[in-house]
C-alpha cells in the first residue's frame, strides 16, 4: 500500500539565540506512516509538538534529524506541495480582498488556472456563496475558516493537512465541513487532521496518533485504541430485574446495557452463565469501548 505520508525519526529542537532561555525539544524522534486514502487524526495536549510536526511535514520548519516523504516525494519539491492542501491553524487572510480574489491568488500560486466559475463552485461547497461579494475583512471567524478550507481544496489535492479545521465554525457548519471532508475521502484524498475537538476526530478519522512531549506515544486504528481490553458490553432482554445481574457482577452502562469485566473467555462465560441462571436472556454481546477523551487521558497519564 502506498503511503501518503512517511516520517522517520523526526527530531526538532528550538534554540534561543538571544535573550537566553533553555532550548526546547519539540519533536523527539517521531515515526509515522499514513497510507493513502485514510483519515488520520493527531491529538495531544498543548505544546505536544503537533503544529511543529505538521510544519516539518510541509517544509515550513526544518527538522534537525529525520526524513519526511510526502506522496512519495520530498516536501521541498514544489511539484509535491502542489498536490497538498493545507489549512493552518491561524490563517492570515488579506482583509481588503474579496474571497474570489484570494482564491484566485492561491490558485495561481498553485500553478492552476483561476477560473472564476470553479472558484465560485468551491465557495459554494464551503457554504460561502452568499459572502462572495463581501470583503474578507468583514467575515466572521467561521467564514474565514471556511474560506481557508476552500483555499486548501483548490486543485483537488491528494493530501489535505488541516490544523483545527472547524475552529470557530458553528455546530451546523461543522457538520457541513465533516461531510465535505468525507466527500474528499471518497474521492481518494488522504486527510491529516489536527484538532482539539475529539468528537470531530472520532467521527472523521479512522486512525489517530497521540503526541505528547514530542513523542508519538500511541498510534493506530481508532477502533483498536478505543477498545476496552477487559470489558464487555452486554444487553439482556427487557423485563429482567437488575438486582441479580448486579449481584452477578454486572454494572450499569448507558442506554440499558450492562458492563462486565472479564480477563479471559472463561471468566466471561462464567459471568454470562450466572446471568442466565438468574433468568436473564442475552440479546447482545460486544467488547466495550472508551471514548477518545478517555483514551487520551489514560495515555497521557501512562506516558507521564
Amino acid at each position: 500500500m502506498s503511503l501518503a505520508l512517511e516520517a522517520s525519526g523526526l527530531h526538532k529542537r528550538y534554540r534561543r539565540w538571544f535573550f537566553g532561555g533553555a532550548a526546547q525539544n519539540a519533536l523527539c524522534g517521531v515515526d509515522l506512516a499514513i497510507p493513502r486514502g485514510t483519515a488520520f487524526g493527531l491529538i495531544g495536549p498543548n505544546g505536544a509538538g503537533k503544529t511543529t510536526f505538521i510544519k516539518c511535514l510541509l517544509g515550513i520548519a526544518w527538522p534537525d534529524l529525520g526524513t519526511v516523504q510526502l506522496l512519495g516525494g520530498s516536501p521541498q519539491d514544489p511539484a509535491v506541495r502542489a498536490r497538498v492542501g493545507y489549512l493552518p491553524e491561524r490563517l492570515h487572510l488579506p482583509a481588503a480582498w474579496k474571497p474570489l480574489a484570494f482564491l484566485g491568488a492561491v490558485a495561481r500560486l498553485k500553478g492552476l488556472d483561476a477560473r472564476p466559475a470553479e472558484l465560485r463552485a468551491l465557495l459554494q461547497r464551503v457554504g460561502l456563496d452568499e459572502g462572495s461579494e463581501r470583503r474578507i475583512g468583514g467575515f466572521s471567524k467561521g467564514m474565514r475558516q471556511r474560506l481557508g478550507l476552500a483555499a486548501a481544496l483548490i486543485g483537488s489535492p491528494e493530501l489535505l493537512v488541516l490544523d483545527e479545521p472547524t475552529d470557530g465554525v458553528d455546530p451546523l457548519g461543522r457538520v457541513e465541513v465533516r461531510r465535505l471532508l468525507e466527500a474528499e475521502l471518497e474521492r481518494g484524498a488522504t486527510l491529516f487532521v489536527n484538532s482539539h475537538l475529539l468528537s470531530e476526530i472520532e467521527r472523521l478519522c479512522v486512525r489517530i496518533g497521540i503526541l505528547s512531549q514530542g513523542r508519538l506515544v500511541r498510534e493506530g486504528p481508532l477502533e483498536e485504541l478505543c477498545r476496552a481490553e477487559a470489558s464487555w458490553e452486554v444487553r439482556f432482554a427487557p423485563g429482567m430485574p437488575e438486582a441479580p445481574l448486579l449481584a452477578a457482577g454486572f454494572r450499569h452502562a448507558a442506554e440499558g446495557a450492562f458492563l462486565i469485566d472479564a480477563k479471559d473467555a472463561a471468566d466471561l462465560n462464567a459471568a454470562l452463565e450466572r446471568a442466565r441462571l438468574a433468568g436473564a436472556l442475552l440479546v447482545d454481546l460486544r467488547r466495550a469501548s472508551r471514548d477518545l477523551e478517555q483514551v487520551l487521558t489514560e495515555t497521557l497519564r501512562n506516558s507521564a
Binding site: 526544518w62 527538522p63 534537525d64 534529524l65 529525520g66 521541498q76
Partner: protein
C-alpha cells in the same frame, strides 16, 4: 534537514556580489571628465577689480570734490560724451581670446610677407605685450595707457609740431593728410598716456580733464570699471555696430535704447553683460523680448547644426527685464571666436606722418 548546499550557494553568491559591487565602485570612481564649467558673467565688481581700481586712482580730486581719479576714465569721460569704452589690454593679452588675436596679428603679417602692426609699435620703443595697460575709446578720442618711457617721440614723429600743454602734456599735430583731411592729433600725458584726438581742441580738452582743470562727465564711473572690457555706448552707436542702418534690430536699438552699459569678461570664453536703458518701457520691453527670442532661436540653430559648444553656452544667455532697463547676458564660446578668426583681415594702417 536544512538544505545546506543550496543555502551555501546563496551565501557564496551574496559574498561574491558584494565584492563585485565594491570592485565596480572602485573601478568607476575616478575623476569624471567634467563638462564645460558655467560662464561667470561680470555682473558686479570683484575684489581683484576693486583693488585694481584703487591702485589706479592716482590723480587728486578734480573740480568736483570727491575721491581720487583714474586718469584713463577721466580722459574718456567728457561731460557730453555718449560713448566710453575701456579695454583692459594687459588682462586681455593673457586671455585665450587675447592670445587668439595676437596670433592672428602675427600670422597675418607672416602671410603677406609684411610686418604686423605690433612691429610698428615695437619700432616706437613700446613692447605691446608688456608696456600697454589699457585702451579707452571715447566719442572721438582714443586713450592708451601704459609705459611709454622708452619712446623717442621726437625722432619717431619728427615732422609733427609739438605743443606743451598743461603740467605734463604734449600735443603733436601733423597738419593735413594726403587726401586733404585733417590728420589726427597725437598727445601724451607724461609717460603714461597717449591720446589720439581728431583736433588739437579735443586733445586739450582731454588733457584738461586729466589734470583736473575741467570736470569729467558721469558717463563711466569708478564703480563701473569691472570686466576685461567695460563702458557705456549710446543706443545709436550700438545699433550701428549691430548691423546696417536699415536692419530691424539696429533700428529697434536706436529707437528704444538710450544707452548700453557693457561689461565683458574674457578669462575663459567671452561673457558679456549688457544693461540697456531707455525712456519708453514698452519699447524697451519689446526690444528685450526680441533679443531673448533671437538668442533662443540662435541656440535652436546651434542645436540643429550640432554646434554643441555654442548651444551649451547659449543656454546661459538670457534677458532679464527691469522697469526702465533690461539686462542681456550671453556668452560666446572660445571655439566660436576661434572659427571667426580663422581668416584674419589685412594689416591696419597707422599714418605716423613720416
Amino acid at each position: 534537514m536544512k538544505p545546506r548546499r543550496r543555502r551555501f550557494f546563496w551565501l557564496l553568491a551574496a559574498l561574491v556580489l558584494l565584492v563585485l559591487a565594491a570592485l565596480v565602485k572602485r573601478a568607476c570612481s575616478g575623476p569624471e571628465a567634467s563638462s564645460r564649467p558655467p560662464p561667470e558673467f561680470p555682473r558686479s565688481m570683484r575684489p581683484a577689480e576693486s583693488q585694481r581700481m584703487t591702485e589706479r586712482e592716482v590723480l587728486p580730486p578734480g573740480p568736483r570734490p570727491g575721491r581720487h581719479r583714474d586718469p584713463v576714465l577721466s580722459a574718456v569721460s567728457a561731460p557730453d560724451a555718449g560713448t566710453a569704452l575701456v579695454f583692459e589690454a594687459s588682462a586681455l593679452r593673457h586671455s585665450p581670446v587675447g592670445q587668439l588675436l595676437l596670433d592672428c596679428l602675427t600670422s597675418t603679417a607672416g602671410q603677406d610677407g609684411g610686418e604686423s602692426p605690433l612691429d610698428d609699435i615695437r619700432r616706437l620703443g613700446v613692447d605691446p605685450l608688456q608696456d600697454l595697460d589699457r585702451v579707452a575709446v571715447g566719442d572721438d578720442t582714443v586713450v592708451v595707457s601704459g609705459d611709454f618711457s622708452r619712446v623717442q617721440w621726437d625722432s619717431a614723429f619728427g615732422a609733427a609740431s609739438v605743443e606743451q600743454y598743461g603740467d605734463t602734456g604734449q600735443i603733436r599735430s601733423f597738419g593735413t593728410q594726403q587726401d586733404g583731411g585733417a590728420s589726427p592729433v597725437l598727445a601724451t600725458w607724461g609717460n603714461q598716456l597717449v591720446l589720439i584726438a581728431p583736433t588739437q581742441e579735443a586733445a586739450r580738452a582731454t588733457l584738461d580733464r586729466i589734470e583736473g582743470r575741467s570736470p569729467t562727465g558721469q558717463l563711466l564711473g569708478d564703480n563701473q570699471a569691472y570686466g576685461d572690457v567695460y563702458g557705456v555706448l549710446s543706443g545709436a552707436a550700438l545699433g550701428q555696430m549691430l548691423g546696417p542702418a536699415d536692419s530691424p534690430l539696429a533700428a529697434q536699438f536706436e529707437g528704444a535704447a538710450r544707452s548700453v552699459e557693457l561689461h565683458l569678461d574674457a578669462t575663459r570664453d567671452v561673457e558679456l553683460v549688457a544693461t540697456v536703458s531707455g525712456d519708453d518701457p514698452a519699447q524697451l520691453g519689446d526690444l528685450g523680448r526680441a533679443l531673448g527670442g533671437g538668442l533662443a532661436a540662435a541656440r535652436a540653430r546651434a542645436v540643429l547644426t550640432g554646434d554643441t559648444s555654442a548651444a551649451e553656452l547659449l543656454e546661459y544667455a538670457q534677458v532679464v527685464p527691469g522697469s526702465e532697463k533690461f539686462r542681456l547676458e550671453m556668452a560666446v564660446p572660445f571655439e566660436v571666436l576661434k572659427s571667426m578668426l580663422a581668416f584674419c583681415g589685412g594689416r591696419p594702417q597707422f599714418d605716423a606722418g613720416r
